[in-house]
Amino acid sequence: MQVTGYVKALEKVDFSISERETIGIVGESGCGKSTLGKTLVKIHEPTAGSIIYFDPNGKSYDITNGLTKEVRSTFRKDVQMIFQNPYDSLDPRMTIRDTILEPIQTHKLFKNLKDQDRYVRELLSKVGLDPDYGKRYPHEFSGGQRQRIAIARSISVNPRLLICDEPTSALDVSVQSQIINLLKQIQREHNMAFIFISHNLDVVYHMSDRILVMYLGNIVESAPSRAIFDNPTHPYTQALMSAIPNWNPRERKLGTVKLEGEPPSPINPPTGCPFHPRCEFRMDICARAKPEPTEISSGHFCACHLRDLTIDSSRSAG
């Protein structure tokens, strides 16, 4: 086989998440948001960098190069994931009860089978399903119900971090709201931290405390969610905002979206700033040097040379 190149799905991403916090990750397909999620649950190994995990007692472990025996079971119990397509993420040949039981048995949560059964029924009613549905198979359920089953499975071991990768994008609008409400309710009750990955900015805003905007494997802007919406600073974030339809036929936005072209291939990413080929404000420096994230206000970071210029000029002016 001929190797034509290596995909840099994730280039450089720095962030941390603490208990009860929700970090939202937005970006378009191929920007690396799912790769990030999968790297965090150790489905993919990072090429470089480090991932540090803190166990419930506050002890830290470097899990970059795999999970040691010592930490494996706690980490797997602590970090769970919900996937985008509930038609693919449930085994069609397992009953709902067996699907939900799998993580419970792996982590040996119960000695008593009766308690275990009661717990599965509790989980089903917690996610808004009839407890008797446990005997059924996935094909008997709609997309929304399947996503509820996937949620029941992921919270069964009481994780401290739940990674939700586009949990509502395969669902109809009216069902989407129900799943979002359910996730919020579960987060409140169980004090979980969420990493919420989506391309839908409205949904990410609703869920998140902080938002990271990704483009071609890089975080181009990160800030508290209000700041991202009130003061989008990176040209890519601004373009993304301008592309959301505003549901008002008297104020149509079509034709005002300035973003031309498409994201380049991650096999052969552009030099300098990953966004510069599509950026309307590009300067000479953008093709040469990759901008570093600059803090433009408390907790609001933006990786753009325009920012450096305005900061420099205000400094020299002052």
Partner: protein, 338 residues
Amino acid sequence: MTDTRRILTVENLKTYFKTPNGIVKAVDGISFHLDKGETLALVGESGCGKSVTAQSILGLIKVPPAKLTGSVVFKGQELVGLSDDKYRDIRGMQISMIFQEPMSAFDPLYTIGQQLMEIAKVHMPWSYQEAKQRIIDSLRLVHIPEPEKRYSEYPHEMSGGMLQRIMIAMALLPSPELIIADEPTTALDVTIQAQVLNLMQELQDSYNGSMIFITHDLGIVAEIADRVHVMYAGKIVEKASVIDLFENPLHPYTKGLLTSRVKREYKKEGKDLPYIKGHVPKASEFSTGCRFHSRCTYATETCKTTMPPEIETEKGHRVACFLFERDDLVENFANAKP
């Protein structure tokens, strides 16, 4: 006298499928019309019958086994019951379709040029050289960079957005009078979606063509439609101009759809998102009454047993709901917060 601006009239269209679990009434007696240059949006959630409506108009439903009744008149010609041969002169030529999944709508084994050439060969009187030139021009029209090079490339060498633009070029190649677009941007990213919608609108304006735009996304409807028909469980429940639909929605289902948008206020106020309770009834579970009654907060006994008639509340605004039969109820409903 026939109206020369009228391009399509659909009258009491019914498409039924026989399944082991009984008859599925995918489209159950819908009527609408379309004028030249107009964009009509058919909106609804999955399974409401919007795609089957499109396929019925295009003669893509195999009859039998399916049962198709009613009337579809395109430029004065009845399409229901038309022979396959005659349909072929209309489909792809005067009416063309843009599908949802650009990745699966193209044959991976043929180049883009070969696939577009097929349309030209079947429908157009052009010579090979002329056809090739026109195809390259049409690719340029949909902003494909280096169209001469792309002409001999395969679908896997393109991105989703590019393929969708090529499909638009393909649909426009014979200059059709009616384009049916079935969720053409659902598989695309938001910034690419905006580009594709822009392009479709631009081209439609220059051709003065008509379009039926099928989508579940009311955000897109607000951007492109002239008129909107809301579908639910095989029926059209509300017909309105796009302004009326957003500013004065009447049917409880339409109201429900409009409130399902994730607004920024909900987070500030710490509120749960509003949603429509219940679920769409299965086609085998339809009652004789209004199909929305089990989810409707305003449902009465009548709603459970009798199908509501289509009521015209003002010119061009029609709703299939008993609430609008009596004026006093209309007042109450209009003032009620969803």
